[in-house]
Symmetry: C3
Amino acid sequence: MKLEKIAELVGGKLKGDGSLEISGIRDIEHAGAGHITFLSKKLFLELLNHSQASAVLAKEAVNTSVPQVIVASPELAFARLLREFHPEPQPKPGVHDRAVVGKNVKLGEQVTLSAGVCIGDDVEIADHVHLYPGVVVGDRCRIGSHTILHPNVTLYRNTELGSRVILHAGVVIGADGFGYTLDEKGAHYKINQIGRVVIEDDVEIGANSCVDRAAMGTTLIKQGTKIDNLVQVAHNCTVGEHSILVAQVGLAGSCTLGHHVVLAGQVGVADHVTLGDQVTLTAQSGTFRNIESHKVYGGHPAVPLGEWKKYVTVLPKLPELARKIRDLETRLNEIENNPSSR
Amino acid sequence: MKLEKIAELVGGKLKGDGSLEISGIRDIEHAGAGHITFLSKKLFLELLNHSQASAVLAKEAVNTSVPQVIVASPELAFARLLREFHPEPQPKPGVHDRAVVGKNVKLGEQVTLSAGVCIGDDVEIADHVHLYPGVVVGDRCRIGSHTILHPNVTLYRNTELGSRVILHAGVVIGADGFGYTLDEKGAHYKINQIGRVVIEDDVEIGANSCVDRAAMGTTLIKQGTKIDNLVQVAHNCTVGEHSILVAQVGLAGSCTLGHHVVLAGQVGVADHVTLGDQVTLTAQSGTFRNIESHKVYGGHPAVPLGEWKKYVTVLPKLPELARKIRDLETRLNEIENNPSSR
Amino acid sequence: MKLEKIAELVGGKLKGDGSLEISGIRDIEHAGAGHITFLSKKLFLELLNHSQASAVLAKEAVNTSVPQVIVASPELAFARLLREFHPEPQPKPGVHDRAVVGKNVKLGEQVTLSAGVCIGDDVEIADHVHLYPGVVVGDRCRIGSHTILHPNVTLYRNTELGSRVILHAGVVIGADGFGYTLDEKGAHYKINQIGRVVIEDDVEIGANSCVDRAAMGTTLIKQGTKIDNLVQVAHNCTVGEHSILVAQVGLAGSCTLGHHVVLAGQVGVADHVTLGDQVTLTAQSGTFRNIESHKVYGGHPAVPLGEWKKYVTVLPKLPELARKIRDLETRLNEIENNPSSR
């Protein structure tokens, strides 16, 4: 692809020879001759100049010998070009003869049902949906267009997925929420979970993650949210738009998250907690209190990140501080008991 | 269903018009006209009076205009009614022609083997068992009556499940315990795991959770225990009766838990630890020491919850406390060095 | 098996009657008549003498009435004997007629493809590979000899597995790394992940664990590493040889681990962190800093284990220490304000 075509594709300003032929796209670390790369920070300019890259996407013109395409977000332009050079593989649409389809199932155009797929009754599947082998879809599910379910994904009954949703292998959507009440004999009596899960457009969920269906009502993952692997979203949670839940995060029941929330790896949020818009929690932190919009918290129980960063530097000094306190007490006793000696 | 019939079903005392027709059941938040709801706390009375609910389950007579059913546990009565109004869907029993069944397999009455189910040799499956698509059952497993295995569950060989067990999608029972010993070259030499897993009656295990088989002997989940999603139970653990393991809990090898233990989300328990009866560990806590019965612990390493709650409020003040200690030292030095000035 | 034959098998020195017939092998806790067991520590000698064991593997001659086999590592000898007495079950090789195999697939000798296995196009499978039911192998994967994939394992396209690799049920290898960049509207724009996963010889990965494929290049698990259940390895990580990742560990993107690293349960490592050779992190700890070879760290943020052990004993005393500091201040104020009273 000619560089001028690339500049046009990413809406960038060309600086250099537009007729240059670009054969591929790589990050600075992997870029070779014929490749276009991108400069995320000026800091990496030296890396660029030591690479064999033939062109670069940059935020502003930089001091380099290779042609440049100037764009507002080089990383975004790079991601867009990746789809040109490395598009996701397209399946051959059709229903494999080893797929099993229930009664009253509506299939859109260009749907791919692979071998070993099992679809329940009264299911609606929109156009261009791709179900990989081993996917199991319960009764009365609805799946929006261009949605991809990777191998061995399970949708329990009544689940609703939007368009362009991606569920990675082993994801389980709509399993029973974890709800019990003690009976007269002290045994846990199961509370039937009669709600469902709704996952809006453009959500992606990583391998082996779980979203439980609501006790009543809906567990809701809003548009554009991205969830990593092995994440737990309990019943009746609402996760706002464009949020990020990194691997092994756990949300207890009935949490409400705003939009653009970021939960780093292994974060835990207690039940019924509300996190405002654009709240960030750092890795392994946990909160059982609500957090206001735009705040960044860390630790367990979570506190404003600045506080956490300060107090953790003191922790290793605690034994010494405790000793000093004992020492101060001794010395002060000495002074108080012997005023005359002074 | 008439309200008098409902009162009879839950063993409650009717207060109001028993001939009232109840069409459904909802929590206070979702209850509308025709619905019966329940009052978990008096606190919610106002919510009740603002709802359209037509009847209420309550612990004692409350000040409301709608008919009441007085029961010892309104929540339990509610859960029982849920099963009346929203029973779990019943499959059509039978062996799907896309199920694969090994040699010498004993199938009880009214068993459902869905498409894509694979059963090994010498397996016993009792009456009314329901295996969803993609379930894989290893050789010599035994499955008790009315047990439900959701899609893509795997039972390794020799696993034994009781009656009314529910395993959610993606659960793995009986994978090899994590046991190695170093060989002469510093490589990890696998210790074959020759034990098994036994899961007793009325246990429920959440999506993608794992229970490993014992190195020798048995990994045991006792009657009535409920395990949430993405939980890890390592080899040779024993989990006592009616315990609760919330999502993402991890038990290392050879732990022993008493009955009615409650481990909140993301708790970790080190290997060979014993937790007594009715021990509770709060979310994200971890213990590598035994804990006596009836104790509530938090933090990592876990301490009595009251202690944890107190010390965590001090943590953010640590930098200031450290400063104060330095200040006290300076002032005390001043006094000690200048006794005459006073 | 005669004891002299056992001594020969484990390269040990016989002390006692070599003609003794040994019928089985158990740990000290489970050993009965006819069994050989092993003594891991002298501490357990009494247990041995109270057991019915007929022979023992020991590091040095001990004071017991039963015949002994003296070996450098009794535990290793025990593990070797386990494989003699309890070999892993061998499948009947062949391609089940319910397996689905793509185009241009090369199958080695003695390969077992069970019912419900789905193999993509251009896949190479070496000799003696065993794929259990429900395994899904993407296009262009390569699987080395004697490798075992348990039920419902998913390999995304281009994954490469070495020889004698074991993947337990539900493992997902090669799912998309978690990579996005914000677009002009504040939505997360997916960065196509064009790399792959390579897993070297003798690696074992526990149930429902996930290893994501690289954004570019390779996510690499080196030879002999053992990974437990529910572990997350993000894109572009390199895990060195013979490392141990215990259950629920999470590695963020682009981590580099040396050889013989040990990460205990629920440990988290932040992105781009490097851990040297033989680094150990204790359970539930987390680091966002590099750690040098041979260090043992604990806590979050992780510090040298000795420091962590000391400061955590002070934590429960913090409220009292804070009180003492206040008290010291009061007393010091008193002295400073009333020099004449002394």
